[in-house]
């Protein structure tokens, strides 16, 4: 049965099967306790982990999200079993760090990564539409650089243990959420767990972890990628990954409807604001940064599980970006963009444009 499933995942059906699984699991995780329309959000969850570790002091967004640890470990185990575990690194890590940094800032201006943008859409949050349009524009700008020879250079095979670092970090995070250790006086030392707000809302650890492991496995086999889907569709008219997104949105729509979590409109949506311009521009930044880095945030987690050290550096950049977004009032809230969010978005877009223009292979 596993062999048949693996064959299906490696075929044209792979992204579709993964999309259906994510589309069912994400609304279920909200039903089981995760925040509204945030059953899975790679950016928000990275932000919550940054908060739990004390890297920022946004008291309402601090929790160690087991889903992301599951992504890494699911991908790690799958890649070991199917002999795709390939430690590699060396493709402009410092540039990738800052692409991750700014991708996160853009995502926190919109309030969600591409995964959550599709989940928000499937739950009737119409503010997702400018976000997804912005994402598409960002991806299209990235593509124009790719056609002109943009490259962050090659990665190179690395020693086997390099790829163990992220799985070990994931296991450490799981230990933190299970044991809830305190490294100093109560309330003033990590690990922080929100007592109210989105960070206090969480599905049971076992369910979150199991969902993460399953998605990590499926996405590793099928190469599911929310940014690659748009990119391949625009660049090569290739629907392979995009079919997964269609399946994802339909499955999430049906599941949200069945669970009574569908609410159509702009106003009063969970953890969302209604500013069209910054919903769009935040995602322009994210879409561009993800395209230059070669994949969406979920894909970066999956690749880090396969041993990709550059994807791991991108994730650390996201973690630092999340901390910065909350420490410097860049992140949006339900009332609208943060005080310096728009300025940071513009700086981020300028950074990404510079990277796109300057980092070209001579042809």
């Amino acid at each position: 049965m596993f062999q048949a499933l693996n064959r299906a995942l490696m075929s044209r059906k792979g992204p579709i099967l993964t999309g259906i699984a994510v589309g069912i699991l994400a609304p279920l995780l909200t039903f089981w306790g995760n925040p509204g329309n945030m059953g899975i959000c790679v950016a928000c969850f990275t932000r919550d982990i940054a908060g739990a570790l004390g890297l920022h002091r946004g008291a309402v967004v601090q929790y160690i999200r087991p889903e992301l640890a599951g992504f890494i470990l699911g991908s790690f185990i799958s890649s070991l079993i199917y002999r795709e575990y390939k430690p590699r690194t060396g493709s402009s890590p410092i540039v990738r760090f800052f692409l991750g940094f700014f991708a996160m800032i853009g995502a926190l201006v919109f309030l969600g990564c591409p995964w959550r943008a599709y989940i928000r859409l499937s739950a009737g949050d119409l503010n997702a539409i400018p976000g997804i349009l912005g994402l598409t524009v960002g991806v299209a700008i990235g593509i124009s650089f790719l056609w002109r020879g943009f490259s962050l250079g090659r990665n190179y095979p690395a020693k086997k243990p390099l790829g163990y670092i992220m799985p070990l970090a994931a296991i450490t995070l799981i230990a933190f959420v299970l044991l809830r250790p305190s490294f100093g006086p109560e309330g003033s030392s990590a690990i922080f767990f929100s007592e109210k707000g989105p960070g206090s809302m969480a599905a049971p650890v076992a369910l979150s972890l199991a969902a993460g492991l399953l998605i990590g496995w499926l996405a590793q086999r099928s190469r599911f990628c929310t940014v690659g889907a748009l990119r391949d569709l625009i660049m090569f008219k290739d629907f392979h990954l995009f079919n997964g997104i269609i399946a994802f949105v339909i499955a999430a729509f049906v599941t949200n409807l069945l669970l009574g979590q569908f609410k159509l409109g702009f106003e009063g949506q969970p953890i969302a604001h209604t500013n069209v311009l910054w919903n769009a521009l935040g995602m322009v930044l994210s879409g561009l940064a993800f395209t230059l880095a070669g994949g969406c945030p979920g894909r970066q987690f999956i690749m880090s599980g396969e041993g990709d050290g550059d994807a791991a550096v991108f994730i650390l950049g996201m973690l630092f970006g999340a901390a910065t977004a909350h420490n410097f009032s860049l992140a949006s809230s339900g009332t609208g963009p943060g005080a310096f969010g728009p300025a940071a978005t513009i700086i981020g877009i300028m950074f990404c444009l510079s990277v796109g223009f300057l980092m070209r292979e001579k042809i």
């Binding site: 056609w147 490259s151 962050l152 250079g153 190469r223 990628c225 660049m235 090569f236 994949g295 550059d310």
Partner: protein, 73 residues
């Protein structure tokens, strides 16, 4: 004119192996193109693209690691 050309796309991020393959298909008059890649993801992406363009694609593991994809028109 050489009868075949080789594209070395090892270590490149998505979708650069496909971009390089596309350029090779468009620019060369060869009926045989070899594409070197190092992940199964790239093997699948390059093969899928080439088949869409009417080429056949098959791949072999290379002794030093990675894969050699042979594209034929």
């Amino acid at each position: 004119m050489a009868e075949s050309i080789t594209v070395d796309a090892r270590g490149l991020s998505c979708p650069q192996p496909v971009v390089e393959t596309k350029k090779a298909i468009e620019r060369s008059a060869c009926s045989e193109i070899y594409v070197l890649v190092d992940t199964m993801t790239s093997v699948m992406n390059v093969s899928r693209y080439a088949k869409c363009q009417g080429w056949t694609a098959q791949y072999d593991k290379m002794p030093e690691g990675g894969f050699k994809i042979t594209l034929r028109k």
